[in-house]
Amino acid sequence: MVNHGMPQTLEEALILLKNDEYQIIAGGTDLMVQHRHWAQTLPKIPKPVLFIHHVKELNYLLDTPEYLEIGATTPMDMIMSSPLVPKILQHTIEEIAAPGIRHMATLAGNIANASPAADGLCTLIALSADLVIASLDRKRMIKVEEVISGPKRNKLAKDEMIIAIRIPHQDQSMSEFYKVGGRRADAISKVSLAAVIHVHQSIITNWHLAFGAVGPRVVHDIHTDQRMIGMKIDDVKRQTDAIIAMYEPLITPIDDQRSTAVYRKQVALNLIRRVIINLH
C-alpha cells in the first residue's frame, strides 16, 4: 500500500506524484469537510494523501514588472494582508469564510476544488490570472479558467500540481467584488460578481465580469466583455438595459440548498446594474 506523503520540497512532492496517485491536501478546508466521517474517526479519503503544506518554497508572494506571483501554499490570510495584492483580491478574501479558515486555506485549493461558487476563483478569472502547473517532467502555464472542466472537476493530470498563480499587472481602478450570501462569515456565495474595470478619460479601457454560482462553472465571456472596451461611460449608463440583456444569456443558475435559480438570475443582473451605476 502507498503511504501518505509529507514532502518538504517541491522536488520531493513532484517525485511522489510521478510515482503514485495521490490526493493533494493544502489547507484541507475543502477536503476535510468533503470527506468528513463520524467524530473520532478518520475522514474517508479514497486515495493516499500528499500533504503540501510543508513545502515552504511555495509559500511566497513575488512582485515582478509584469505580474504578481503567489506560491501555491501561501495561506489566504497572508495574501489578504499583503500590500502587493490587488485590492479586489484582498476584498474577495475578506469575504471568504473567517480568520480560522483563512489561516489555513489557499487560493490554489480554491481553484483546484473548482466550485462554481468559489470566490477566489471568480476574482482570479476576472483578473485574467494564469496558473503555473508543474510535474516532474515539465512546467506549463494555463489561464485559471481553462483549468476548470466542470463543477468540482479540474484538468490537472495525475502527476501535476499547481505551483503558483500569476496575476498580470493591469489598470483596474474601478474593480470591485460583490458577494451575496446568507451570513457575513462562513457563507458560500449564492451569487457573486467580480468586476475588473478601468476607465481612462471617461472611456472603458479594461472590462472583465466574472459571475460565481450562476452556472456549472464561474461565468466569464471574454467576447461579451470585449464589446465594452472603448465605450464612453455616459453611453454605458444610457445603455444599461441593453448591456444587461447582452449578459443575460450567460447566466444559467440552478436551484439548490442555498438559493433558487430565479433569485440568482435576478440578483446577478442587478449586480451588473450596480457596477454600471458605480462607474465614474
Partner: protein, 157 residues
Amino acid sequence: MNEIIFTLNGKTVSCPFEPTRRLLDVLRQDFNLIGVKEGCGEGECGACSILLDHNVVNSCILPLGNVHGKDIMTIEGFKTTKRFKVIEQAFIEMGAVQCGFCTPGMVMSTESLLHHNPHPTDQEIKIALSGNLCRCTGYNMIIDAVKKASIVGDGLW
C-alpha cells in the same frame, strides 16, 4: 516518517503517523484536552478553535499532517498566561459567558486577534470573532469583553 512531532502547550509531543486524523480528535482523545469542543465538525462554528503558530485555526478540519513541526496552543495551555487572566476577567465582568460551550473558542480567537492587533476597533473585533458562533449571549457582551481586555491588558500584547 513514522511519527508526527509538534509543540503542544509548550511541550514537544509525538503521535503515530496518521496524518489525516483531525487534530481535534488527537487533542481530545490522546491528550485529554477537552476544552477543545466539537460543535459542527465542519469549520463553521469555531468551538474547536486553537492556535497554530499564534494564528487561530479550526482543529475539526485540520489534518494532523499539517501540524508537524508547528506550535499548537489550546485553551488549557493558554490558561496559565497573564493574558488569559485578563481576558477571563473581562469575559466575566461583561457577562460574555452563559453556557460556556463557545467560550474556549472565543478566547482563542480573542488571543489571535490581540496578538496581531492589540487595540482593535469594534469592526475588527467582529471580523475576528466572525467564525465563532454563540447560541446564548447575543455577541454584544463578547465584543465588549474583548474591548475591555484590550484596554485592561494594555502592554501585554
